[in-house]
């Protein structure tokens, strides 16, 4: 099978040797199951000692539907192990199904994940899957990758941490450039702009009009620039002859992650927060308690983004960048709090009145 279910454990703790339990019974209906305990076997194996293992049975379960389950116990003898399962989220009343699984075979523990300085897409994907407790079954690989890409773009938007430098070729006697992205495709915001080593002053079109009514046709080396919207650039004065370029330092959009070995462009120490936002994005479509419980991931992401944004902002002010940073700390995060309606049990008996 192309998927497996792992018990999550803390990387700091030495993982115990594991036992692989391979079910050999007929496949149950598709869905997600939870191991409750052993039936008449190993009485010490009761919750909470018994690990909560989620087994997801694929929709198109073949007769050989074996899903290896890694259990952190070594004292299991070889043989069949009857376990009690229940449909996940279905409640006890509906589906306690006894399944016999076995045989048990010992196996080496899965290697703990090592956190590299720069995380690859594969590592980020694994982190996301662990957060949402899904081994890429309910959430497709493309979906997870898209969520990771959104997370990185949001991070760069909120913090402006991805700074780049590029040359922008000027056309003689031209004051306006309608689309700065024709030359700098990943342009987001200007930070510093130089012409021949001299820094240009960031200004507005309104101020340029007030300062010089003929600034649109003023010949000379550029000394001021203005942006309007996200792509309209104006400079004054305009070079009359020769080849001129502007040296743009700018906040950039990150490149879209595609391959499994791609690494995000944000600083490595900040990459650990990308799976948090991605996990919240994935949980979004589920709504209800799943979304509510995933808010902690989004909170962690936004808190980290706010902190890093303040760091970048303080550094920007030190370097007198031309674009002020966004104040994420003052953003009202309580808007992400959701209040769920209380579920009404349709079969619950009516409550007697107090007066009777």
């Amino acid at each position: 099978m192309a998927f497996q279910t792992l018990i999550s454990f803390q990387p700091a703790v030495q993982p115990p040797p594991h036992v692989i339990v391979t079910p050999i019974c007929a496949p149950p209906p598709s869905g997600q199951y939870e191991v409750l305990g052993a039936l008449g076997w190993l009485p010490t194996w009761q919750p909470p000692l018994f690990p909560k293992v989620n087994i997801r049975v694929p929709q198109a379960a073949a007769p050989a539907w074996a899903v290896p389950i890694f259990l952190p116990y070594t004292e299991l003898p070889e043989g069949f192990l009857p376990l009690t399962y229940r449909r996940f989220n279905y409640g006890l009343a509906q589906a306690i199904t006894g399944l016999t699984i076995g045989p048990l075979t010992t196996a080496a523990a899965p290697a703990p994940t090592t956190v590299a300085c720069a995380m690859t897409v594969a590592e980020l994907r694994l982190q996301v899957e662990q957060r949402v407790d899904d081994p890429a079954i309910y959430y497709s690989p493309d979906e997870i990758l898209h969520a990771i890409n959104i997370s990185q773009r949001v991070w760069c938007l909120l913090t402006r941490c991805l700074e780049k430098q590029a040359s922008f070729t000027l056309t003689n006697a031209v004051a306006f450039y309608d689309d700065i992205r024709l030359q700098i495709p990943d342009f987001l915001l200007p930070l510093r702009v130089y012409h021949s080593g001299t820094r240009l002053i960031a200004d507005t079109l309104h101020n340029l009009n007030l300062r010089d009514s003929t600034w649109r046709a003023r010949a000379g080396n550029p000394t001021r620039y203005a942006m309007a919207g996200w792509k309209l650039l104006a400079i004054t004065p305009q070079p009359a002859s020769g080849v001129h370029t502007l040296d743009f330092w700018y906040a950039a959009e990150p490149a879209t992650l595609v391959g499994e070995s791609d690494t995000p462009q944000i600083p490595p120490e900040q990459q650990i927060f990308l799976p948090d936002c991605a996990a919240w994005i994935l949980r979004l479509k589920e709504g209800s308690v799943e979304l509510q419980s995933a808010k902690k991931f989004l909170d962690r992401f936004l808190e980290a983004a706010a902190k890093h944004g303040q760091f970048v902002g303080a550094r920007s002010q030190g370097q007198l960048y031309d674009s002020p940073p966004f104040d994420l700390a003052s953003w009202d995060r309580s808007r992400f709090l959701i209040k769920l309606k209380q579920q009404v049990n349709p079969v619950a008996p009516p409550q007697p009145k107090a007066n009777q």
Partner: protein
């Protein structure tokens, strides 16, 4: 690096518990396209992120004071004529200054001084003094807020001229619309969360691109 609505809609299928358009029985492609188009227009109106510069739409005609604004015009930011910025003014102010401001033509060696857009038909720009024969054929420069309206259900045009991160914003707007719609798959908490996330984008856009105009 322009966005493509076809790609954006494909990105949305998993969010809508579908793998393709045939799966998404609650939200047909045309409806999602409409959500995208509306969200894009709302973004243009709220933030003014789409700023365009037009130097061809308006052609001065001698004796004509009022002209159609450029296509997809929302509001005017700056107007210039003959390379000189014109002063934004109001009808009342111009009337107080010169009762014949709508007919008095530009004197020789003088320039158009003001532009106005109030108390005339919507999406019109007026110039005073009125262009004379000497200015006929010239094109004023208009810098204005534009709104995009190129998206339709037939996908005759699929490009969205905006940063990639705007595509993410639009996706969350559409998720909020889709799950906020009354019906069997209405999920208010999802709609609320997606809307809150989209609002975070919007606040950032406003800060970065909506303030220096």
């Amino acid at each position: 690096m322009s966005l493509n609505i076809t790609t954006l809609i494909q990105n949305l299928w998993p969010f809508l518990h579908a793998s393709n358009a045939a799966d998404a029985v609650f939200w047909p492609d045309s409806e999602l396209t409409r959500y995208f188009a509306e969200s894009l227009k709302r973004l243009a109106q709220r933030i003014g992120i789409f700023v365009a510069r037009d130097t061809t739409s308006i052609t001065f005609v001698a004796g004509t004071a009022i002209y159609d604004a450029p296509a997809r015009h929302l509001s005017t930011l700056h107007v210039a004529s003959e390379g000189r910025p014109l002063t934004a003014s109001s009808t009342k102010e111009l009337e107080a200054r010169d009762s014949l401001f709508q007919t008095r033509q530009v004197a020789a060696t003088k320039h158009i001084r003001d532009w106005y857009s109030d108390k005339i038909v919507t999406n019109k720009i007026g110039f005073t003094p009125v262009p004379s024969a000497a200015l006929a054929g010239l094109h004023p420069e208009v810098i204005f807020h534009q709104f995009p309206c190129n998206l339709d259900s037939a996908h005759t045009d699929v490009a969205i001229d905006a940063p990639v991160v705007c595509g993410d914003y639009l996706e969350f707007c559409v998720i909020a619309e889709a799950y906020g719609k009354e019906g069997d798959l209405q999920m208010p908490e999802v709609a609320q969360s997606a809307k809150a996330f989209a609002d975070l984008f919007e606040a950032t856009f406003k800060h970065y691109w909506g303030m220096s105009q």
